[in-house]
């Protein structure tokens, strides 16, 4: 079944780390992408670039900024194919953002 790995981290965590750490993290992200179990993945631009869209009384309202104002923001996501939750959790545990204090939320994808 498919799972989404939602990667939450403090903004700019890679910029503030050393060159070696950053390069190692990038290499790991690329290695993950080569794994067949990764269906797709994306890194998101910073949360300040977000625009929220809502509907109110038939009108579209747009506001600047992310949906929730928290220290950790959604920084990227992966869609993976795994046999069961244990395999999904193992793949989630490899996400480099974890080493920088981030959190990965694992959510099964609704099957249509």
């Amino acid at each position: 079944m498919q799972y989404a790995l939602l990667i939450y981290a403090e903004p700019g965590y890679l910029e503030t780390s050393s060159d070696e750490e950053r390069e190692a993290a990038y290499a790991e992200y690329f290695a993950m992408a080569d794994d067949d179990r990764y269906v797709s993945a994306a890194q998101l631009q910073p949360a300040e670039m977000a625009t929220c869209v809502r509907l109110s009384g038939g009108r579209t309202l747009m506001t600047d900024g992310p949906f929730a104002d928290t220290k950790e923001v959604l920084g990227g996501f992966c869609l993976i194919e795994a046999a069961d939750l244990d395999e999904a959790l193992e793949l989630a545990a490899r996400v480099p953002a974890l080493r920088f204090g981030g959190t990965v939320e694992v959510r099964p994808v609704v099957r249509l």
Binding site: A83, D84, L85
Partner: protein, 381 residues
């Protein structure tokens, strides 16, 4: 009889049907048929196989009737049920898979506990609700939510692979010990229930020393439960009436502990069982108890264990060293930190300080027996 069969039958059905709710429904139906028939026709030679086969057949019938639903569960084509061979050895024991599913860390702890008691222990939802002092409705929701998460997120029905096993086994042991400790506070006999679960686990994982260690620990503690209370009052180890100890259970617990030691067990449950065993001796070897607490503290890094070590040091005859150790601990919000300090100060003849410590403990005491105990101590100073 029914309770003994429940876990195995349910486990086999979850493995067969791949669906917790369906398995539970089928098991309940089969047990109901058995309750009706067996008193008349007698218990079959292989009751487990009879129950599993009857439940499977019932489930398959239902699935055939709801063919459209059947496409949604991973059960195509519908397996054939075998009705002729009733042999319990042919039914694979899948309780271990079930235990690891119920105690999966992706489930909330209270859900793990409830599900383990329901699925492995065969307790009714109402009984579990009573044990945890919540409404039946709340407990039902808790169980439903846990089962829904197992299904929706694909929590496997499997014994974890070697690289995951130590961590997952710790989770299972923690759930069983939690159930045991709930029982210790004296509401429903969850203690006996936890011991049953511990026996099942140790039987299924005979090479795991910590499974034996936990079982031994629970048995030796449980053997002393009647001496721990006098009416509603707490009785300290020193003052316990040893004629109330269940010596046979202590001996049985020690045999289990020996088994854990033979397997090379030196983990936290084995060490705790060894401590419990020493404390159940006629004359307690306190220096040895203190040494084991030191080992346990090394393993767990727990300040509460350090506190217990200090108590053992005091019992071994050195209350001054014990007080020095206690004063170095950061446990200000912990009732037993203050009651222990009070006791040590009293022994050292520092009554005024002892009174202050006991008063602080009294402020933190939640239960009536604890409050009564501390009030008595204060009055005796």
């Amino acid at each position: 009889m029914f309770r003994d069969q429940w876990g195995r039958v349910l486990a086999s059905l979850v493995g067969f049907l791949g669906d917790f709710d369906r398995a539970e429904e089928a098991a309940q139906e089969a047990f109901a048929i058995a309750a009706e028939r067996w008193p008349v026709s007698g218990v079959p030679d292989a009751p487990g196989a009879w129950l599993v086969t009857t439940a499977r057949n019932g489930a398959i019938d239902r699935i055939r009737r709801e063919r459209t639903l059947a496409q949604k569960i991973h059960l195509l084509p519908v397996p054939e049920a075998i009705m002729d061979d009733f042999d319990d050895t042919l039914i694979k024991d899948e309780r271990l898979e079930l235990i690891f599913t119920c105690c999966h860390p992706a489930l909330p702890l209270e859900g793990q506990v409830a599900l383990t008691l329901r699925a492995l222990g065969g307790l009714q939802t109402a009984e579990i609700a009573r044990a945890f002092v919540v409404s039946e409705e709340t407990m039902k929701r808790r169980l439903t939510r846990a089962k829904a998460k197992i299904k929706a997120t694909g929590i496997p029905f499997a014994v974890p692979g070697a690289h995951l096993l130590p961590e997952r086994l710790d989770a299972v042991l923690a759930v069983i010990y939690l159930i045991y400790n709930e029982g210790y506070s004296g509401r429903v006999d969850l203690g006996a229930e936890a011991i049953r679960l511990g026996q099942v686990l140790a039987g299924l994982m005979p090479r795991e020393p910590e499974a034996h260690g936990l079982l031994a620990l629970m048995m030796i503690h449980h053997a002393r439960r009647r001496a721990r209370f006098s009416g509603d009052d707490l009785v300290l180890l020193d003052d316990q009436d040893r004629s109330l100890w269940d010596l046979r259970q202590i001996a049985a617990g020690r045999a289990v502990l020996d088994q854990a030691m033979v397997l090379g067990g030196r983990g936290p449950y084995v060490v705790q069982a060894a401590i419990a065993s020493l404390q159940a001796r006629e004359r307690i070897d306190w220096p040895q108890v203190a040494e084991l607490y030191r080992r346990l503290a090394d393993l767990t890094g727990s300040a509460v264990v350090e506190l217990n070590r200090a108590v053992a040091v005091a019992q071994a005859g050195d209350p001054a060293a014990a007080l020095r150790a206690v004063d170095g601990l950061d446990l200000d919000g912990y009732l037993y930190f203050h009651s222990t300090r009070g006791e040590l100060l009293r022994r050292l003849g520092r009554d005024a300080e002892a009174r202050t410590a006991y008063r602080r403990a009294l402020e933190l005491a939640a239960s009536t027996p604890e409050r009564r105990f501390l009030t008595r101590r204060l009055e005796q100073l």
